[in-house]
């Protein structure tokens, strides 16, 4: 019976896959990582992040300021020897790709030292190496079938969709933060202006009255 044969084949394949996966889980999954972090940077503060990178790995650092002040921050990226690979002052958004020329700890810092009282919220995405393959199969010699390559291209397209969505969400958060600032500022300024208006007009009247009430006693003493 064909059904039984295929079931046995599936069971054998599953058993083989199980053993292989168990072996693979014990192995190091390759030097690649992607860290997306949003953190708050207080005023006059500097925060640094470090990562150990092997030589020849292609890395990308992307950052964006979401809330705070003029929505800008200083960024600086250094290699293990202290050489500055990337340095920009007061940038709102930027993306920098580099290939690690040596092994070691790479350091990147965000600084808000130029600001006196605004906290900034900064988002960064540090991508090291390529994404790990779904099946890190060491016996992969055959080419991908059409279905598999279609899946791979859909996966890449969806990854870029998610990436664009993230950037859109950040820009929208920035716009919304500005709109909420504007809303509170309009409220305070309107109330403040109305009060100033009242105080000034009432004050003017009483000041004018005070000029005329004292004058009668002073005008008679002009001759002396």
């Amino acid at each position: 019976m064909p059904g039984l044969g295929s079931a046995q084949r599936w069971a054998a394949a599953a058993g083989r896959w199980g053993c292989r996966l168990l072996a693979l889980l014990l192995l190091v999954p390759g030097p690649s990582s992607a860290s997306e972090i949003t953190f708050e940077l207080p005023d006059n503060a500097k925060q640094c992040f470090y990562e150990d990178i092997t030589q020849g790995t292609k890395c990308t650092l992307e950052f964006q300021v979401i809330t705070g002040g003029h929505y800008d921050v200083d960024c600086r990226l250094e290699d293990p020897d202290g050489n500055v690979l990337y340095k920009e002052m007061k940038k709102q958004y930027d993306s920098f790709t580099f290939t690690a020329s040596k092994n070691g700890t790479y350091k990147f810092c965000f600084s808000n030292e130029f600001s006196t009282f605004t906290h900034k919220t900064v988002y960064f995405d540090f991508q090291v190496g390529e994404d790990p393959p779904l099946f890190p199969s060491e016996n992969r010699v055959s080419a991908l079938t059409q279905m598999e390559s279609a899946c791979v291209s859909i996966h890449e397209a969806l990854k870029s969709v998610i990436d664009y969505q993230t950037h859109f969400r950040l820009r929208e958060a920035q716009g919304r933060s500005r709109a909420e600032d504007l809303n509170t500022r309009v409220a305070y300024w309107s109330v403040g202006e109305a009060l100033i208006l009242l105080v000034v007009s009432i004050g003017q009247v009483f000041l004018l009255k005070s000029f005329f009430s004292d004058k009668r006693t002073t005008t008679t003493r002009v001759g002396s």
Partner: protein, 216 residues
């Protein structure tokens, strides 16, 4: 298979787990994750303590604890737990918005090492990045094609959740803008009315004042 695998495992454990940063003893470091609802977030961290005598970071410090606190957009605490020096925390969001993840160490032993520093390796994975595909394949016994299809399904689901969240955010943005618009409109009218009324009051008050002083 045994010895090389164990060696690699040891190297993996001692080596990098991605990004790291330094914090002081009593310092609290907070991170923000803006996520749609029903999204799972998995955080892995590893801490190393600075040894002043040897001037090096110790590979692992038993007895060192980190307190992890997660707050939802309304400020309600979702997760507040203490973990060891190596920890893994998980939570699922039930409301969309900014979730705040705060870490601080609460080891009383560190009071002995005044000015001690901690190196914290942190890795936060959100949504479908949190899925471990080799594990899912082993658990559900999927073929390669089925696993790829599952990955695509998870990605599309995440995109859909993000789009829903975007609709909710856009509505908030629109409400804020409309509120600003209304405020500008009503306060302008109110200020013009106040201006006219005070002008009229001023003139009448001064006129009656001058008439009383017999100057007019």
């Amino acid at each position: 298979m045994g010895r090389p695998a164990l060696l690699l495992l040891a190297l993996c454990a001692a080596g990098a787990r991605g990004l790291y940063f330094h914090i002081g003893e009593t310092e609290k470091r907070c991170f923000i994750e803006e996520i749609p609802d029903e999204t799972m977030v998995i955080g892995n961290y590893r801490t190393q303590m600075w040894d002043k005598q040897k001037e090096v970071f110790l590979p692992s410090t038993p007895g060192l604890g980190m307190h992890v606190e997660v707050k939802d957009p309304e400020g309600k605490v979702v997760l507040s737990r203490q973990y060891g020096s190596d920890g893994r925390f998980t939570f699922t969001s039930h409301t969309p918005g900014d979730h705040q993840i705060c870490l601080h160490s609460n080891s009383t032993r560190m009071a002995l090492f005044a000015g001690g520093r901690l190196r914290v390796h942190l890795d936060i994975q959100v949504g479908e990045h949190a899925n471990n595909y080799p594990e899912i394949a082993a658990k559900d016994k999927l073929t390669e094609l089925q696993l790829r299809a599952r990955q695509l399904l998870d990605q599309v689901e995440q995109i859909q959740k993000e789009q829903d969240y975007q609709r909710y955010r856009e509505e908030r943005f629109r409400l804020t803008s409309e509120s600003t618009n209304q405020r500008v409109l009503w306060w302008s009218i109110a200020q013009t009315v106040i201006l006219i009324l005070t002008g009229i009051w001023q003139m009448r008050h001064l006129k009656s004042f001058f008439e009383a002083k017999k100057l007019v």
